[in-house]
């Protein structure tokens, strides 16, 4: 029994799930049953993948011991590149990869600058936040490009599917990608290197892990996921606005942290980041449905972030101090 409790306490993402269930009950009663009805869930599942995919990438990068503040800008830049190309009558099959390639390039630059000049990624990606945002506005020419009707295969990415059209295709993409990243992190040797690099860099280096390449790869994965998430949003909305994704970088960090990822690296899970993202979306949505002034959302998000970190730290020491009978 005690052993089970210890295992439970060591997994902060499980505490997140419990909190989510509690929240669901509260919002369900406060909103007179609207929160969990089919229509509202459909709306939430439609929006969730966009932010959650960003959170998946940011969580991976944070486990690797680095930070990316430029994901919000990449979220806008990637679909803008695709949109401008589509507006100029390039086929989707070229425009879509071009956007993702640009996202990968941003990640490559972030990673290379951080590793090569040994500067904090907080600085590199803060710079990139402005650079990529500026680039987005410049290539849009100030006006969102008009994407020709039917130029985007929305049925592949954002169409409603499933019984009663409950979920969008984007949700399927999100689940598949999240499972893949989670699987790579927990089961592949690359995942082991990511954890070692973020957990204790000198040890990883002394064991011969190519830590620079591991970090750059994580920066690139993070960027591409953010770009893909932005592309999903644009396909849902129909037009690329240069301002989308503003503030998303901090929400993604909040999601990762709420899910138990440590700022110092080495600790965290992809599932935790996703649960953090779900919590944030649920609070956003639940507050509105409970007829609370929407301006309270950031207050709730901020309080939850700080509370979650204190709680996670407390649970971790509690679990560590818990003695479990050992068999020899």
């Amino acid at each position: 029994m005690k052993r089970i409790l210890k295992i439970y306490l060591e997994k902060p993402e499980l505490a997140g799930i419990v909190f989510l269930i509690v929240l669901a009950f509260v919002f369900q009663s406060r909103s007179n049953g609207v929160f969990l009805n089919a229509q509202n869930l459909q709306g939430m599942f439609g929006l969730l993948p966009e932010m959650a995919l960003v959170a998946v990438g940011v969580t991976l990068l944070m486990i690797c011991g680095e930070f990316d503040l430029s994901v919000g800008s990449v979220f806008a830049l990637t679909p803008m590149i695709m949109g401008v190309m589509l507006a100029a009558h390039w086929p989707f099959i070229l425009a879509f990869p071009a956007g993702l390639l640009a996202a990968a390039a941003v990640g490559l630059v972030n990673g290379t600058l951080t590793v090569r000049f040994a500067i904090p990624s907080f600085i590199t990606t803060l710079g990139m936040l402005f650079v990529a945002r500026s680039l987005t506005v410049v290539i849009s020419g100030g006006f969102p490009p008009v994407i020709p009707q039917g130029a985007m295969p929305r049925e592949m990415f954002t169409a409603f599917i499933g019984p009663g059209g409950m979920i969008r295709m984007s949700f399927v993409w999100f689940v598949v990608i999240a499972m893949l990243v989670s699987f790579i992190l927990s089961r592949s040797n690359f995942g082991n290197w990511v954890r070692a690099t973020g957990g204790f860099l000198p040890a990883a280096q002394s064991m011969g892990i190519p830590t620079s390449r591991v970090k750059i790869a994580c920066f690139m994965i993070c960027s591409v996921l953010a770009g893909f998430a932005g592309t999903l949003q644009v396909m849902r909305l129909g037009a690329p606005l240069p301002s989308i994704g503003e503030g998303l970088e901090l929400q993604a960090v909040a999601a990762a942290v709420i899910g138990g990822t440590a700022l110092t690296g080495g600790i965290g899970t992809i599932l935790g980041g996703i649960i953090g993202a779900v919590l944030i979306r649920a609070i956003d949505n639940g507050l509105v449905l409970s007829r609370v002034d929407a301006n309270w959302f950031k207050m709730a998000l901020g309080a939850l972030t700080v509370f979650a970190v204190i709680m996670n730290a407390w649970l971790r020491t509690k679990a560590k101090n818990m003695k479990v009978e050992t068999h020899k």
Binding site: R187, S188, N189, F190, G191, N192, W193, R195, A196, G199, F200, P202, A203, A204, Q205, S206, M207, G208, I209, G266, I267, K320, T326, H327, K328
Partner: protein, 243 residues
């Protein structure tokens, strides 16, 4: 006598104007336990960093088992059979024992370009065996290294080196920051290496520890070797006088 396991010839190393190693030559014999002593900045860390592949010499040669070698990174040295256990530990505290045992050398299935699925059951099984082989009792290969004591961590690091059939083990200040009882345990590990046919280089600035487990003592000062004696033929006073 057979060929030395490691021969170092006329090694030089400069750090931004500082001559850290001045023409150092040293033979390390098979199966001997060599104690390397010296004050901070005497050059012992530089010497072992070169032997373990983390730094490259500015001049001189290294022969390993009679063949000239040039390590481009720690992995080259590890592949040759030289494993280094560092003062601040070559373990990641936030990872499990089983994962730490195989960092950078994970057994994989279905691998493509060196990236593949880890064989986790095998990693757990083999780490349990490797830890039992060094007579260490830990509750589970899934325990986090951060939950182990300093001595246990060094034990796991030594178990790892043995598991990968290292021929030479370099121990860089393994007894630093350890409690007395733990220190004795680590010295016990070092003494047991001899019976296993492993050549060891033991670095410490605690001369008592060196006398306890080494066959031969080499003292360094200001980038040079200032004394090289069999333990039986020297005394602590003599070593202290040259440092």
């Amino acid at each position: 006598m057979t060929d030395p396991t490691i021969q170092v010839r006329n090694l030089h190393k400069w750090y931004s104007g500082v001559h850290a190693l001045k023409d150092v030559s040293l033979d390390i014999q098979p199966n001997e336990t060599l104690g390397l002593v010296g004050d901070n900045g005497a050059g012992k860390s530089t010497l072992i960093n070169i032997l373990s592949g983390t730094q490259r010499p500015d001049g001189g040669d290294i022969m390993f088992e009679g063949r000239p070698v040039s390590f481009r990174g720690p992995r080259d040295a590890m592949d040759a059979g030289i494993e280094t256990i560092y003062q601040y530990n070559s373990m990641v505290p936030t990872m499990s024992i089983a994962r730490n045992m195989f960092i950078g050398r994970e057994p994989t299935k279905l691998s493509l370009f060196g990236i593949g699925l880890m064989d986790l059951p095998r990693m757990r099984r083999e780490s349990v065996q490797a830890i039992a082989d060094v007579d260490l009792h830990l509750r589970s290969p899934d325990a986090l290294v951060g939950e182990l004591s300093g001595g246990q961590r060094q034990g796991v690091a030594i178990a790892r080196a043995m598991h990968f059939k290292s021929k030479v083990m370099i121990l860089d200040e393994p007894t630093n920051h350890l409690a007395v009882k733990e220190t004795q345990k680590v010295i016990g590990f070092v003494q047991s290496l001899k019976d296993l046919g492993i050549t060891a280089v033991f670095i410490s600035h605690n001369i008592h520890h060196v006398f306890e487990c080494c066959d031969r003592i080499v003292a360094m000062a200001r980038g040079e070797i200032v004394l090289d004696r069999r333990t039986a033929d020297t005394s602590m006073d003599e070593i202290l006088s040259v440092l």
